[in-house]
């Protein structure tokens, strides 16, 4: 009997240890940086994978020049999840690069007031929480349809001007022309839930007359999505994209890398995305003439002439007692250096190829997609991001949209799933 008890106890202990392991599978991120001794040491969390290498190099140079030890970390985890594990461990970074919504959620408790900083006057994109500037905008990013003009012109034989194709009818006619000209399927669609829900579907909220009121009506369950004009416009366009999708047979098996390569090399001509996609496209052999255009729609509200975007990725400085006064000062110096020092500017615009969010920074050496974004931004043709989605929005709505993409539900069913998601979700306070 005793032996039996012992074996059961041992089993329980082993299960317990497995459960403990299962519960703590967060990764710690990969650290790298300089190790020049002495001086203050600050840590920076970078959440843009494409600039990690450049950032690590910069940290080494900056450390040598300024005598401040800078270490840059990156994590594959989603930003919110990674910040949650760091704060759960009470081990925050000095400076963290997060998404806009994280500044709102983390800001009140964890971010330092930066209202008095020199760079504030040079930007329209800083984030304020409770009247205090807390988020330093890293760059401007925008969403739209990426195009490969070289591939299009090779078939049509005339110069491609995206302004000619802002309505869905004109766009469809062009697609037909491309198909007739030998490009079997001119469109790619990213099936990732964040692309479908947080980037494409998100525009349905953002292009409403009053996005905030529309979201509130979704929470309240009073919005009629299936009969909403913007919803139907965007879904009409999505149907066309689906029809001409190169992976139409199995759209949810399309791999992002493959699609980007096809776009870069001109095998397909259009894909919905954003200027950050350049980080993948540049690894292939991109055609000379590429760019971004608004999502074509049969509408007269002007939204088919604008990209959707704004400030993207924000630095905030941790305000907890874990960070000493010297570290805070070093962190503030670093942010000012990015904006006001020529080397800092070059880092943002040339080495990382980011569209600067500060009016005093000029940018001539941008990649084609970012160049499009900058020209739309300079012309005031950007529709603002809506930054207050619930944290599970991209995953839940993304799953529904994947079903729609795979042909498992129709438009009415999709609208119903999205409506039921919103009405069963607790509103985000902001």
């Amino acid at each position: 009997m005793k032996k039996k008890f012992l074996s059961i106890a041992l089993t329980a202990a082993m299960v317990l240890s497995l459960a403990a392991c299962g519960g703590s599978s967060a990764d710690t991120g990969s650290g790298s940086g300089s190790s020049s001794g002495g001086g203050t040491a600050i840590t920076i969390f970078n959440s843009k994978s494409e600039i990690q290498d450049a950032f690590v190099e910069l940290a080494e140079e900056y450390s040598k020049e300024k005598g401040v030890n800078v270490e840059v970390y990156y994590s594959n985890d989603t930003v919110a999840a990674h910040m949650a594990t760091k704060y759960a461990a009470n081990d925050p970074y000095t400076i963290s690069m997060v998404d806009a919504k994280d500044v709102y959620s983390l800001g009140p408790e964890h971010a330092l007031d930066l209202s008095d900083q020199d760079w504030v006057k040079n930007t329209d994109y800083a984030i304020s929480v409770d009247g205090q500037v807390k988020g330093f905008p890293v760059c401007i990013e925008a969403r739209g349809v990426m195009y490969n003009a070289s591939a299009i012109e090779a078939i049509t034989g005339k110069e491609f001007n995206p302004d000619d194709y802002k309505t869905l009818d004109a766009f469809t006619a062009l697609l037909d022309e491309l198909v007739a000209g030998g490009m079997e399927a001119p469109v790619g669609i990213m099936k990732e839930d964040w692309s479908l829900a947080a980037h494409y579907f998100q525009e349905i909220y953002e292009e409403q007359d009053d996005p905030e009121a529309f979201i509130q009506s979704l929470y309240a369950g009073t919005a009629d999505l299936a009969n909403n004009q913007k919803f139907n416009d965007m879904m009409d366009t999505f149907d066309v994209l689906m029809k001409y999708n190169y992976a139409a047979g199995q759209p949810v098996a399309a791999e992002r890398e493959v699609s980007e390569q096809k776009l870069a090399e001109g095998e397909i001509a259009f894909m919905f995305g954003g200027n950050w996609d350049w980080s993948l496209i540049k690894d292939f052999e991109p055609s000379e003439k590429m760019g971004m255009m608004p999502v074509p729609q049969n509408t007269t509200d002007g939204s088919n002439e604008k990209l959707v975007g704004g400030g993207s990725k924000y630095f905030f400085i941790d305000s907890s007692s874990n960070i000493s006064a010297e570290q805070v000062q070093a962190a503030k110096d670093f942010l000012n250096w990015l904006v006001n020092d020529e080397a800092g500017n070059k880092f943002l615009t040339e080495r990382c190829a980011l569209v600067p969010a500060f009016s005093n920074i000029s940018a001539d050496a941008l990649d084609p997609l970012s160049f499009s974004v900058k020209s739309y931004a300079d012309a005031g043709k950007l529709i603002d991001n809506y930054n207050y989605d619930p944290d599970d929005h991209y995953s839940k709505v993304g799953a529904s949209m994947q079903k729609y993409l795979a042909g498992q539900i129709d438009r009415a069913g999709f609208a119903a799933e999205v409506e039921s998601y919103w009405s069963s979700t607790t509103p985000v306070e902001h």
Binding site: K4, S7, I8, T11, A12, A13, M14, V15, L16, S17, L18, A19, A20, C21, G22, G23, S24, S25, A26, D77, T78, A80, A81, M83, A84, T85, Y87, A88, S105, L106, E109, H110, K191, D193, G249, Q250, V252, A253, E255, P390, D391, D392, S395, K396, A399, S400, Q402, K403, A406, Q408
Partner: protein
């Protein structure tokens, strides 16, 4: 020297088990109790304050349909995987102990997949399912191979099961090999002399004598399957349309991605209880079946 005093026993215990007990408490018992405390709060994982909410998280857990679906999915996945892993492992073990040429090489070969981490393994197989099989299917016009299995609900589950079997069968094989080796040759010979066929020898002599191997293997595979996370993450990441999210992944998403730490922790506790019941029950039944020669 009196060895029956309390202080002597305490010293003995501390000397032999003190360090391990301390570590076990520090990394398992304490976090477990702290986690239990967190299930009664509405902590979001980031905030400084942890408001006490009583049993609200357990109520949320019971109302979270996606969690119960994930748990059911995990149970189905576990049952199929456990059976397949053990059948394959047992057959492999039998083959590599039956005296085929180069059996040590085969033993090492079958064990290797277990040395590759789950994340890497998931990415390798993702490539195989998405590209290699599809190219092969298209080239040879084999219908069921020409589309990616990972794109369909049932296909994604099948892929997860295949990869798990491939990963664990080698490890379990080693345990079964040890089981086969522990059966003394005397009894095998005696059975042969009495006129047993090979099959009869295995079923009536070897298997009953190596029940402890089965108990161990079943325990290991059941718990591992219920806790699967790494392969799930890198192979399917819950796609298509969140239909391959296993229980552990749902718990992680709820706690960290959806920032609902308390509910995630409560769901983790439910998962733990389910695993504990299954594991203990299985060991209890297995022990009963054990015999000795």
């Amino acid at each position: 020297m009196n060895t029956n005093t309390m202080s002597y026993k305490t010293k003995q215990f501390l000397m032999f088990a003190g360090v391990t007990t301390f570590i076990f408490c520090a990394v398992v018992i304490v976090p477990f109790i702290y986690g239990l405390y967190l299930t009664f709060t509405s902590w979001d994982g980031v905030s400084v304050s942890k408001p006490f909410v009583g049993l609200a998280n357990y109520a949320a857990t019971f109302k979270d349909g996606a969690f119960w679906q994930a748990l059911l999915r995990t149970a189905i996945y576990s049952v199929i995987s456990v059976i397949l892993v053990n059948v394959v492992a047992f057959i492999l073990a039998f083959l590599v102990t039956s005296g085929v040429k180069g059996q040590n090489f085969f033993r090492a070969g079958f064990f290797v997949p277990n040395l590759i981490g789950g994340i890497v393994l998931g990415y390798i197989w993702k490539f195989v399912f998405n590209r290699a099989f599809v190219s092969l299917g298209n080239a040879l016009s084999i219908g069921f191979l020409s589309t990616s299995w990972l794109a369909t609900t049932n296909g994604a589950m099948l892929c997860l099961i295949i990869v798990s079997v491939w990963q664990y069968a080698g490890y379990m094989m080693l345990i079964y090999v040890a089981g086969f080796m522990s059966v003394s040759n005397d009894v095998i010979e005696a059975a042969k002399i009495d006129g047993c066929t090979n099959m009869q020898t295995i079923v009536h002599i070897s298997v009953p004598l190596m029940v402890s191997s089965f108990v161990q293997c079943l325990f290991l595979t059941i718990t591992r399957c219920f806790m699967v996370y790494d392969v799930n993450l890198s192979l399917t990441n819950g796609e298509p349309f969140n239909s391959s999210v296993m229980a552990a992944m749902h718990v992680y998403n709820t706690a960290f991605t959806y920032k609902d730490y308390g509910t995630g922790q409560a769901e983790a506790l439910v998962l733990f209880i389910v695993c504990a019941i299954v594991g203990v029950l299985q060991v209890y039944i297995g022990k009963k079946a054990e015999v000795s020669a």
